[in-house]
Amino acid sequence: MSYFNIDAQALNTYDAIVIGSGISGGWAAKELTGKGLRTLVLERGRDVRHVTDYPTTNKQPWEFEHRNQLKQEVREANPIISKCYAFYEGTEQFFVKDAEHPYVQEKPFDWIRGYQVGGKSLMWARQTQRWSDFDFEGPARDGFAVDWPIRYADIAPWYSHVERFAGITGNKDGLATLPDGEFLPPHEWNCVEKHFQQKVAAKYKDRHVIMGRAAHLTQPQPIHFQQGRAQCQHRTICERGCPFGGYFSSNSSTIPWAAKTGKMTLRPNSVVHSIIYDEAKGRATGVRVIDANTKQMQEFYARIIFLNAAALNSNLVLLNSTSHRFPNGLGNDSGVLGKYVAFHNYRAGISGEYDGDLDSTTDGRRPNSPYIPRFRNVLKQETNFLRGYASGFSAGRISRSDQNGIGADLKESLLNPKLGGWYVGSHMMGETIPKESNYLALDSSLKDPFGIPQLKISIAYDDNDDKMVKDYQEQLTEMFTEAGFKNIRVRDSHAAPGLDIHEMGGVRMGKDPKTSMLNKWNQLHAVKNVFVTDGASMTSTSTQNPSLTYMALTARAADYAVKAMKKGLV
């Protein structure tokens, strides 16, 4: 499609192209423009500007026509996205509707997406823990996947770099499984959470309950004020967009920061079709873009390309970037592109009640909760499954009113709720094992609305995951019992993969080009000027939430890319 004359080509040429403006793309944009590169950011969705494009952020509960419940027709038209807990009347505008981007579920997979400037950073739950060497050494030690080409020490300074800018609240807990970071003051515990923490600490040497680490400004620093952000006000309706910039999103933080350099060109409504590989030059020269409004294809060129379309879409773009040299997808000499996809197991949960501490309650709201770092199979293999799980935990008190009556009595009891006991709950976040049989491919006949082949997703839970669910239920039941919690109930949602929204892999990092796609700088082994720094690059999944790691890897790779560019290496 090179119908352009030389001038047009020059006009469409940049130092760098970033594909996607979500959590990782925002960081690529910030770092590359910050280092002086003229950077084009291509985003398939519409623009979403901080504050002005958050239509529901200041709506009171009664201002929602349906009290935040989804319309029946929306639910029926969107069976996939309607399963996501964060999709409701106040957030509908930020999630991809099922028909917008169809895909093939070779096995059930609920693909949850946000296509707009900011990607999923607008709606995420903001939990941000560092990964540790137990995670980076896992594959080498436990014998699954391939060895990571990096260790914690490689990424630690970059964690600090992104934490300081994004603003992360947390407590320094001194745990080997969960390295401390650059923290703003931690959120407050409530009495029952504290009680549980103490009970667990008393019984188990190796199990800890800590305050969650989350991307909230509990005490903004000058760098946050410079971004135009302010202290988090504890509204806990973050997924509608926060006018205070109280939590980190690309929209409130990295994208406007990149824009301020004057080096960024942000092009929304630009669906990247593929990356262009020039055989003569032996490098990628640019990208093909379909304009979402006109459906016209257009080309843009750059020295380096950062692929940050979110894990599955980054796989899709590479699989669709075929050439004589790379008939099976860009950089895919090894044949592993699209394979070894993994995710997090969120299937299991547990709840209970507690009748101590009845003279105390909580006041206000907290956009965060305590966290139980992984304690299984850490120092030795002690179970019949590989790896382990982290867990969320929280406690609260509910007011209840008797709703049995009618008339004035009913009204009276509705308006005078009785404070019930404490409820406690936890959910698991299990590590799943990347396997060759969990793969992505392009469907040979079905196309999406832009004429791009549909992504075929073939990902499933296995026996290891089922055993882990059982162990979580048993161990947490034991811990809950130890703490004196009553009416303990465990569950297994049997949800399909995908709803965890932590899909990773397919373009994994590794030392050996024969078994991996990317080197230790997130650079395609075979195409040195293409960097993939989102979840697609993960070799294994850890038990921690992933996005902080995507941010750190992105900043690290951008630093390397610019240095390598200056040395003429890419």
Binding site: K59, Q60, P61, W62, E63, F64, E65, H66, R67, Q69, L70, K71, Q72, E73, H187, E188, W189, N190, C191, E193, K194, Q233, H234, R235, T236, I237, D357, L358, D359, S360, T361, T362, D363, G364, R365, R366, S399, S401, Q403, I406, G407, A408, L410, K411, L414, L415, N416, P417, K418, L419
Partner: protein
């Protein structure tokens, strides 16, 4: 939508949550007669006392809107059929249309519905939505349960206040 009081000047200032106007944006699933009857029904469930009841807060409009927009077809049929039979049941039980019964008569009839195998689904649909509409109305949330949009704080262990007000999200 909210804040749109429209032409209904007779409504007090706080009742701007749902108005006839916002309900009109929805497919109409009830006749005028049925709507009036529903208003009497929600008012019986949550009546005016020293504070407004469900009818003055337009909860019947809310119920209608929710059933039209957010519930499966079967719920709409239930609501229609249930309302249609309400006057017959009133005739049988106190020889008057439902609206003309006194509080005790209406209350007794609805209490009976709650137990009736044919009617209890209809009744609990209306009752649940009435409670939800009432409790999340602007009037109740601002004047009675004192909802805070921006608490600005979280304290984990405070003494239980003498009178606990509910705090939803």
């Amino acid at each position: 939508m909210a804040g749109a009081v429209g032409g209904l000047i007779s409504l007090p200032a706080w009742a701007n949550g749902w108005t006839t106007e916002t309900v009109l944006t929805t497919r109409k699933i009830l006749s005028v007669g049925q709507t009036e009857l529903l208003a009497e029904m929600v008012e019986t469930i949550i009546p005016a006392t020293d504070t407004p009841g469900a009818k003055a807060l337009n909860v019947h409009q809310f119920v209608q809107k929710m059933v039209a927009d957010c519930y499966p077809k079967t719920a709409q049929e239930n609501l229609n059929k249930g309302l249609d039979s309400l006057n017959d049941l009133a005739q049988k039980s106190f020889s008057k249309p439902f609206a003309q019964g006194d509080t005790a008569q209406r209350t007794a009839l609805l209490t009976q519905l709650a137990q009736s195998p044919d009617q209890k689904e209809f009744y609990s649909l209306v009752k649940n939505l009435t409670i939800r509409g009432y409790m999340t109305s602007e009037y109740v949330m601002t004047n009675l349960t004192h909802y805070e949009f921006i608490p600005g704080r979280y304290h984990g262990c405070v003494p239980v206040p003498q009178k606990a007000a509910s705090q939803g999200k």
